[in-house]
């Protein structure tokens, strides 16, 4: 599902300036190029996570960057683990 910038702002509940700052920091990576940015559902969920970190938890900008970096590595590992599990299952079904 493709989401325009305006829809994204209303769905994620963040402001214009904040969004630009987050894209600048590469916390969010929308597709397309400015001004025709397009977002997907994962971007909304990620924006909510960043907002939770900043607003609810009081994490500062540096902290958010560090957390996102670790979060991305964590999910990268989880994906690979899932693929390994899938590969192992396929193999045991075949053999």
């Amino acid at each position: 599902m493709k989401i325009s910038k305006e829809e994204f702002l209303s769905l994620s509940g963040i402001g214009h300036e904040m969004l630009n700052a987050w894209i600048e920091e590469e916390w969010l990576i929308p597709s397309g190029s400015s001004p025709e940015l397009s977002f997907s559902e994962i971007d909304i969920a990620r924006a909510r996570l960043i907002r939770d970190l900043q607003v609810d938890f009081g994490v500062n900008d540096e902290g958010v960057g560090v957390i996102l970096n670790l979060v991305d590595q964590l999910y990268g590992m989880r994906r690979t683990l899932m693929e390994l599990r899938h590969a192992a299952r396929t193999k045991s079904e075949q053999g």
């Binding site: 969920a45 909510r48 996570l49 991305d72 690979t80």
Partner: protein, 301 residues
């Protein structure tokens, strides 16, 4: 739901700052996105978020303390968390495999597995992209070549096969989003939307048309030109045709799935001249048959 003060582990007399502090301490530990494999964390997080929603808000806390509202229903409706997307099969730009890159460098069987998995991720096929394409009714029967303008300014040439029906989806292989590595492109899925036509309608493989004819053509019969989606044809209107008489043009309908064509059914409609015609009036007032025939005989009053 339990007592919100108990959930947050604070006294009923705690200050707003203490409540916020207690909430943050728990939320940081239990946020579902920071605990992707822990289902329990999500349940607990919902609980503390609900509790904080109640007593973290001065107004609501006052009403709760005075017994005006209770803790029921304070839980936030479940939103989609980042973890629901981040571990999914779908490709996204946030994946980072650097956390175990060193594991892939060694020579054992596990490293080989990891490398293969990374390769599979690197060579994932692109997404399918869905579009809608409105076409004219005539194009849906006769077929057409259309050009679709994409949101990014590009274009896509689409060959509409004759006889396509509303909602049918055309798949253009390799015209979707680019994949990663050697993954190749996804497909473009084009859903066809047929605009209603002023004259033609379709039922199954047959096409229906209401065609006005003159009184002269109805009474004496005639050879008239009839439009069809694939061009005009000549049709014989038999002598004595009436409004509602339906004539069949064989093979002039939509192409059938199994080969061959449906028919076009032409329903005649006798239309008098727009302006009153003195000659016609004179004839009809002297016409005996017009006075003895009652077309409403079978219509109960």
């Amino acid at each position: 739901m339990k007592d919100p003060y108990e959930i947050l582990g604070v006294a009923r007399t705690a200050s707003a700052a203490d409540i916020q502090k207690a909430y943050r301490k728990l939320a940081k530990k239990l946020h579902p996105d920071l605990n992707p494999g822990n289902a329990e964390a999500e349940e607990k997080f919902k609980e503390i978020a609900g509790a904080y929603g109640l007593v973290g808000d001065a107004e609501k806390r006052k009403r709760f303390d005075s017994g005006e509202i209770d803790a029921a229903g304070a839980e936030r409706p479940r939103q989609n968390y980042y973890r629901d997307y981040a571990s999914s099969e779908q490709d996204h730009p946030y994946t980072d495999n650097s956390g175990f890159a060193d594991f892939m460098d060694s020579e054992d069987a596990f490293a080989e597995l990891l490398r293969r998995s990374a390769q599979a991720q690197a060579n994932r096929r692109g997404h399918d992209l869905a579009y809608r394409l409105p076409i004219e009714f005539i194009e849906s029967i006769a077929g057409a070549n259309k050009r679709l303008t994409l949101p990014d300014g590009g274009t896509l040439d689409v060959a509409i096969p004759p006889g396509i029906t509303e909602g049918q989806v055309l798949r253009l292989r390799g015209k979707g989003a680019p994949g990663s590595g050697k993954g190749g492109f996804g497909d473009a899925l084009i859903e066809v939307e047929i605009k209603p036509d002023r004259s033609f309608t379709r039922q199954g493989d047959d096409i229906y048309l209401e065609l006005p004819i003159t009184l002269t053509e109805a009474v004496l019969g005639a050879r008239i030109k009839v439009p069809t989606p694939t061009g005009a044809v000549t049709m014989a209107v038999p002598k004595g045709s009436n409004t509602g008489t339906t004539l069949r043009l064989r093979g002039k309908g939509a192409p059938k799935h199994a080969g061959g064509y449906g028919d076009q059914l032409v329903k005649l409609k006798v239309v008098l001249p727009k302006e009153p015609d003195p000659e016609l009036e004179a004839f009809v007032s002297n016409w005996q048959g017009g006075k003895t025939y009652n077309p409403r005989e079978e219509v109960t009053p």
